[in-house]
Amino acid sequence: MQRIGVFVCWCGSNIAGTVDVHAVAEALKNESGVVFSTDYQYMCSQAGQDIIKNAIAEHKLTGIVVCSCSPRMHEATFRKTAAAAGLNPYMVEIANIREQCSWVHKDMLSGTEKAVILGRAAIAKVHLNAPLIPGQSPVAKRALVIGGGIAGIQTALDIADAGFPVDIVETKPTIGGKMAQLDKTFPTLDCAACILTPKMVDAAQNELIKIYSYSEVSQVSGYVGNFDVTIKRRARFVKEDLCTGCGLCTEKCPQKKVPNEFNLGMDTRRAIYIPFAQAVPKVATIDPDYCTMLKTGKCGICSKVCTAGAIDYTAKDEFITEKYGAIVVATGYNPISMEKFDEFAYSQSKDVITSLEFERLTNAAGPTAGKLLRPSDGEHPHKIVFVQCVGSRCDSCAEKGKEYCSKICCMYTAKHAMLTRDKYPDTEVYVFYIDVRTPGKAFDEFYRRAVEEYGVHYVKGMVGKVVPQGKKLMVQASDLIDGKQLHIDADLVVLAAAIEPDKSARPLATMLTASMDTNDFFTEAHPKLRPVESPTAGVFLSGACQGPKDIPETVSQASAAAAKVIGLLCKDHLTGNPCVASANEMLCSGCSQCANVCPYGAITYSEKEFRMPNRTTLMRRVASVNPAVCQGCGACTVACPSGAMDLNGFKNNQIMAEVDAICRN
């Protein structure tokens, strides 16, 4: 039997004005288990808290009920008071008689009556309270960053700066991501490589950063502070520690006709390759789909020319397992496929290209060494049409494109148009748009320069059709402002393709039990107040995996995510919330209903041995809740068909007791 103390607060006249606090204290004295009941002007004041502390000591109280303001206001205060007097803080219940009683009811009689009932419900609940002790779990002081683009690199650099080891896992043979493929960056027009490659080198040289390139995450288990991650290191058939990156093998390899994905297939590479000159790590990789040696066992030239002896045709995929305290997702984006957009003749003509292909064409390290030449015949184009929103903002064509705005296209198209007019003033440039969206520091000025200084023709309207005719591309479009149909004989058409999350994001989200929206972008814990955390504790978001973003935004988010990770890794132990679910193994039938509704993946199953009569044992599958992962929503308690699952602090019998107490009149 509990020994309960009741403390009724006046809150000056806030409560006492419409609730007869003496009467409440008197009435609650008669409740079962109540050994002490009093009222005071301000329970939250030092003097009020002393009354509570003294009563706990004097009357050997095992539970207390404070009838006062909302628990959202002072629950923490009174829990601390109880703890200071040696009572478990979870033996405190609050009856909200201010916000939900005295402030909303005008007459004394009904206010007092309700306050007594609310006090009674709290007493009924505290009878069933049990002392709770928050769990502590250690924190593995190492972070994992998934994705080695600018987002991942920035996050890793910032975490390493704070003194914590970081591992980057990148699926490509090199880090750098999309930014490495870009030519110049808006709105300042500094070259992407000039600002990115120093960061790549910093990451490679930082002793705290380990880069697993050509690798992927294959398994994740554990929880915040204690993730166990298995990383698959794909066989690159070149020993990373021996290869010097001299590139001799990539010159001698006889297999020359491999489409070069770094240049989006606009030129070719060898079967053994280094993606680009500034690659990090600068190590060759053998493409098993094209290597003659690996396919037929005849060749071996690269092995013969390699003076470092780094080639190893027998290499196998390796799996390594590492412990991490925090995981940052930075899987980035890809332009959507243009295959479904037949009207723009992307698959019929080589001279219809995407904006990313245009980046490679104008990049000094690209397939044309930076000269803007038509992919079909290598001639200089004199009339270029840029089409914006290809696949973006498709509310009527959702099966082809995306409903959202891809955000970066307006700015990079303005950049492309401006750079073209700057390098080749004889080129006529048209941009077709639905709206020009340029919010951002110095963005609108940049767009206006393209129009006013560089004379780019911006036309409001969509392109209806592109028809290849001889060497020309006939562009049929409508000008919505002049209300005219336009026919332009263009030499080159550039499509601003919508961007979508990388394909690896969906399976990764499943592994991490992190949630995604309908477009496969990772969802944040709160869209405004917790934008870099995923709802899953210990998983953070960086860059375009969370939504379309330009480089400045990506870098800000990357640093923000790093700050959150550092905050987590600084702690030696994590103190959990003890109000979490727990399973009664005697009742559990291992049916998995609870795990199906758990949004956090906190519930696991294991075979357990139970003693049976006659000295026999029985193996049964039972659920267990990881208290470090459980957030205490209670969805599982209702899903459980056998009543095995219950929630500490809000147990079934506690809520039932409250219902009974309220209805007992």
């Binding site: 959202r72 909303v104 209702v638 809000f650 809520i655 219902v659 009974d660 309220i662 209805c663 007992r664």
Partner: protein, 146 residues
């Protein structure tokens, strides 16, 4: 016979989720937006913590109306909790229909932490509806009568 002369006061149990609706109820208080004292609030972490059994229990023990408030769909503090609530309650309500409990005695309402006014007007409206239905006799467990 004195009971007959008294004005009938319904007994209403309101389950409110900690993060949105309970805070909405607090806001109604801070703004002094009155609603009948017949409404008694029970705090739960999430609307999905409410077992249909709790609602049945309330009716058995003599509650005349039960209302369940949670975060708006898509705004759940626990991401998906209120979606489970929505499904579970539509199941429960069809069962209550089958048992002959008037549909107006139960309600699910989404109230955010900013919607103090909505909380008060919802409670006023609900209390009025329940009062017009009179006492709940159908599911009341007479053994529980004092």
């Amino acid at each position: 016979m004195s009971e007959l002369n008294q004005e009938y006061k319904p007994l209403i149990v309101a389950f409110c989720c900690n993060w949105c609706s309970y805070a909405g109820a607090d806001l109604a208080g801070s703004n002094r937006l009155a609603y009948p004292a017949d409404v008694k609030i029970i705090r739960v972490p999430c609307s999905c913590r409410v077992n249909p059994m709790f609602i049945l229990r309330a009716f058995q023990r003599g509650a005349d109306g039960v209302i369940l408030c949670g975060c708006h769909p898509g705004d759940c503090h626990y991401t998906t909790g209120n979606y489970y609530t929505r499904r579970r309650m539509s199941m429960l309500f069809s069962m209550l229909d089958y048992l002959g409990i008037e549909r107006e005695r139960t309600r699910v309402e989404w109230v955010s932490a900013a919607e103090g006014a909505k909380f008060a007007s919802t409670m006023n409206d609900f209390a009025k509806k329940v009062a017009s239905l009179g006492p709940n006799k159908r599911l009341e467990d007479l053994r529980c009568k004092p």
